[in-house]
Structures are given as structure tokens and as C-alpha cells.
């Protein structure tokens, strides 16, 4: 996993909730990339989970957890 950047810009701080949400999505995808470095296999798997209801729900689950951390880091953009 060493060659993959796991946290874009090396920061959890974002200007807005929207950007925080995008970061949550990116960070979870980068873990997939670090765990499965082969881009072609990842592309195939992506088609699998994007067309499977249970897996799409699993995606929302992980993003929710990542976002909780990012939101706390940004004091919820209050």
C-alpha cells in the first residue's frame, strides 16, 4: 500500500460539508486501491458493487463512518 496516497492533501480539513463528503468517498476508495493495487481488477469489482444493492449499502456505511471523522475534525463546519 506504500505507494498510494491515502489522505488527499494530507489533511482532514475542508472548506465545506460538501467537500468533506467528497473526501470521505475518496478516502474509502483509496483504501480499496491500497488493498487491491491492480486497476483492472478494481474496475471489475466496481461494476460488481455498483450493481448490487447490498454492496451499495455497504458503501454508504463506510462513507458514513469516514464522514463522521471528517465532520468532527472540522467541528461540523458550524
Amino acid at each position: 500500500m506504500d505507494a498510494v496516497t491515502l489522505v488527499p492533501n494530507n489533511s482532514l480539513l475542508t472548506a465545506t460539508p460538501e467537500e468533506g463528503r467528497q473526501l470521505a468517498v475518496r478516502m474509502s476508495r483509496l483504501i480499496v486501491k491500497a488493498t487491491q493495487p491492480d486497476a483492472q481488477i478494481r474496475e471489475q469489482l466496481r461494476e460488481v458493487y455498483a450493481s448490487d444493492a447490498a454492496m451499495l449499502l455497504a458503501v454508504t456505511h463506510t462513507v458514513a463512518i469516514e464522514f463522521a471523522t471528517i465532520a468532527a475534525a472540522n467541528n461540523y463546519w458550524r
Copy 2:
């Protein structure tokens, strides 16, 4: 996912718990939309998970996590 708005109104702050709960549901659905941009496929998958007990429970799970973040952002509307 770039064209999908992930956080409606770009804010986690809502007037009431009810609105916070609605936001939690919307935010998790928007992640599905960003992951599976094809509206027709999403509609089919929606029928799948809305009729499957285990997947409905998975929906409640994700909403619970999203709501935890939104509730904290709003100081629990105390």
C-alpha cells in the same frame, strides 16, 4: 461522483431532529447515487432492498450512523 451534490444545502445544521433525520436519509441515498449514476439501475436496486429484510436493516444501520453525525453537529437540538 463529481456531478452529484452530496450534502443538500451544503450544511449539516437543521432546525429540528425531524429535519436532521431526513437529511441523514438523503445523504446516504446521495452516496448511492454517486456510486451508481444510472437512475434506472438504482430504481431496480431500490425495489430489491425495499423488499429484503436484511437489506432494510442495512439501510437503518447506515441512517443511524449518518444521523449520529448530524445530531452531534446540531448539539442534539437541545
Copy 3:
């Protein structure tokens, strides 16, 4: 989901832990109701998950997360 009330009394505050726990159960069920508006289908699915060990465990999981939020909202009724 628009017609379903998602947060009874529009508040996370309860007098006691027992009431907070009941609220956690109700809130998770209301998400099921909002996702599957057909009462008859819900009743069938309810029989499914109430008789399946893995799904019952999934119910406990979601309730635990909802309760964590409600307990924090109420300062743990200390």
C-alpha cells in the same frame, strides 16, 4: 418517505434511559417504514427478521447505534 414522521415528538430528549431505548427502537423502525411504505410487505418482512438469528442480531446492532446518539443527547441521564 415524506409522509412518515421519522422522530416521534421531534425530539431526542427523554425522561429516562428506558424511554430513550424505546425511542431508539421506534426511530429505526420508522426508517424501515419510510423505505418500505407498504404495511403488508413490512409485516411479512418483520416475520422474516424476527425468526432469523442473524437478522435479529442486525436489529440489535442498529438499535445500539441509535441509542448511542440518544444517550449522548440526554447526557446519559446522569
Copy 4:
């Protein structure tokens, strides 16, 4: 679920971590009881999940979440 007591002693406060842990186990079981009121069915399902590795892991998962709430309520018994 109305007849089932969901929080023993109606309190999250316990004298020790050990008692807090026992409370976490009890609270998750009471959700099972409230969802499946038939004691005989529960006994059968209990044998199922106690003999299934994946379900035992699911039990540990829920207890961990319940315990997190109880531990916070008790300021971690520091």
C-alpha cells in the same frame, strides 16, 4: 415490545466496568426479546447463533457498541 423492560434498573450507571459489560450484554438481549417475544423461538435461535462463528462475531460487534455508550455514561470508570 411494550411489555419488555429494555434497560434494567432504568440506568446506564454501574459501579464497575464488569457490571457495565454485563449490562451491555443484557441490553442487547432485551432488544432480541422485544423483537421476538416468543421465548421458545428465541431459545432455538440462541442455539443457532451460539454455534455459528459469524453470528458469534456479530454478537461481539453489538455488545461492543452498547458497551461504548455505557462506558461513556460512566466516564469510563476512571
Copy 5:
């Protein structure tokens, strides 16, 4: 579950993160022990989940949650 000690030393406080992590592993295993008291069955199930990728991931999941609580209890050993 009454005869099983659920929290070794009846405390969440540890001298180091390493010891906190060990405690997280032990506490989740003690829930398995309390739920399935038969040591022989536990040993069989252990071989099952230690050789199954999905179950090993489930183990990491529960340990992560237990550790979150223990780390907070110890103010993250800062």
C-alpha cells in the same frame, strides 16, 4: 454468562496502547466465551473464523470498536 469474567482486572485503563489493544482482543473473546460456554465448540469455531477471510475481517471490525472505547478511556495515552 454469569461465571465468565468479562473485563480482565475490572478496568479499562492500561499503561500503553499495546496493552489497550490486547485488552480489546480479550474483551471481545470473552463475549464469545460468555455466549458459547462450551470450550470445545469455541475451539472448532475459532478454526472456522481464523481460516475465513470475511470472518477475520469481522474480527478486526469488533476489535476496532472495542479499542475505540478503551482508547477514549485512556485519553488516547497522550
Copy 6:
């Protein structure tokens, strides 16, 4: 699990979010190592979960939880 170091450097503190994220990945893998000490079996299981969409999502899930703890420990590197 006694011979496996579970927390590299015995600390949750890291200089940057990137390093914190790497630590989250390592800590979850060390739990796998402690649970399945046989390196050859681990290698086989790794190929399994790295090529399975659902399991990759499970990896992102656990890493998200571990990272939440590490991020809190580091005050989110603010």
C-alpha cells in the same frame, strides 16, 4: 496473539493524517495476524479478500473505524 506487536511504536500519535491512515491499515492487519498466525494461510486469504468486492468494502469499514480513533487521538491534526 502474544508474540505479535499490535500497535507499531506503541503509540497512536502520528505526525500527519497520512501516517495516521497508514497506522489504521497496519493495526487492522495486525489483528488478522494475531488471529491467524500462519503467514501462508494469511497470504491465501489476502488474495481472497483483495479480489472480492464485498470483502474489500469490509476492509474499508474496519479501517474507517480504526482511523476514527487515531484521528481523535491526534486531535484531527488541526
